[in-house]
Amino acid sequence: MIMREEIKGAVEAILFARAERVSADELVEILDVPLLELKPILREMMVEYREANRGIQIILEDGYYTLCSKPDYSDILSRMIRPVKRRLSSAALETLALIAYRQPITRAEIESIRGVKGDKTISGLLERGLIEEVGIKPVVGKPILYGTGEEFLRAFGLASLQELPGLEEE
């Protein structure tokens, strides 16, 4: 029988090694520990990570657990992480912002708010996994609906979509 502390160690090892989100079900399967037993352990771990000597945390989003750095260290880390990725153009950022806040949204809606054509920008964002096709709008023409993709939270260092700064309405 695996001990409680060992389960914690195992969970940390799994989340670290996977480097991607892992569902509770998958943890149950890998660890062979019932969900009812695992859930409180995960909660306990999330609290323990709050201590000052820890630089990482577990975030829970949509039933998936992910290990990431604490926001307290964002300036230190952004200094360190070399910008290897291509910069996003301001057109891309604007389009992405629209999709992030208004998802699901069609290309026509994006274009009407931005006042310019955006096919190229959208396909660029799709290619990078920052957005994805999330459905079809049930109107004439059956336009594709876009939403943020898996890469979005990673690229902008957000623990969840709820962390997007609020848009104050004037």
């Binding site: 670290f16 090694a17 926001p71 952004s78 301001s90 629209l98 310019v116 054509k117 260092g157 997007l164």
Partner: protein, 242 residues
């Protein structure tokens, strides 16, 4: 020039308008389309940057502004209930406010990306832990898929067995001229196509016939709607065809 605007830095008419308004350089009643256009032409002549796509973007922007101006100049239509049509400036103002919201949000995203706002970092998945992918398929389903394609496209096999060079329209023209080398100097069009089973060959023959008609070497005459078409030789056979 009154307005020195770096046109390249702007993304669309709303972006440009927002900038001009915020700098208090223009009023919505008086958007300097001519000046902006002049500056753009100047920019083009100096840089020689004739990027068609960007020029298209500029045209779109200029026409948007012109449309707005014209709406402001024209007396507003009186609706049936006696209400005035909505001031286009109100619509534009709303658009600008909406656009500005997302421009600000885009700035946040940029700051998040660069760590200027508190953010978290994720680990790059290490290469040695690639999740193996197992395809739920087998070679039989592959074969089935291929057969399905073949059934849909009966011509497909043939298409790839005949090299393009095989059928020359020039040759087909010669063939038609030779077929007309009979005492009557005429032939039913259907006869020309006898023995031709391949679609590409039939097409080549037809194109050859059209070309001969264009060159006025032959004439095609259909006496009646239900009659077959007859091809007549118009020129004397040259030694090329004999």
């Amino acid at each position: 020039m009154a307005y020195l605007v770096d046109l390249e830095a702007f993304h669309g008419p709303l972006d440009l308008l927002l900038y001009l308004i915020e700098k208090n350089e223009v009023e919505l009643d008086d958007i300097p389309v001519a000046v902006i256009t002049e500056q753009y032409m100047h920019y083009l002549s100096v840089t020689g940057d004739y990027d068609l796509e960007r020029m298209g973007d500029f045209l779109l922007m200029a026409s948007y502004l012109l449309n707005l101006k014209s709406k402001l100049l024209l007396p507003r239509a009186i609706m049936s209930e006696g209400e005035e049509e909505e001031d286009p400036r109100i619509d534009l103002m709303q658009k600008l406010i909406e656009y500005k919201k997302y421009k600000t949000a885009a700035q946040w995203l940029l700051e998040l990306e660069n760590g200027l706002l508190p953010r978290v970092f994720f680990r790059q998945a290490s290469e040695d832990l690639v999740i193996e992918e197992q395809l739920l398929t087998n070679s039989v389903s592959l074969l089935r898929a291929y057969r399905a394609i073949l059934r849909r496209m009966p011509e497909a096999d043939e298409l790839y067995q005949i090299p393009d060079e095989d059928i020359s329209i020039q040759e087909k023209m010669q063939q038609i001229m030779l077929a007309l080398n009979n005492p009557a100097r005429e032939i039913w069009m259907q006869q020309l196509f006898e023995g031709i089973s391949r679609r590409r060959e039939a097409l080549a023959l037809f194109l050859a016939l059209l070309e001969l008609i264009r060159l006025q070497k032959v004439t095609a005459i259909q006496e009646d709607n239900n009659e077959d078409i007859k091809i007549y030789l118009r020129v004397e056979l040259s030694h090329d065809y004999a």
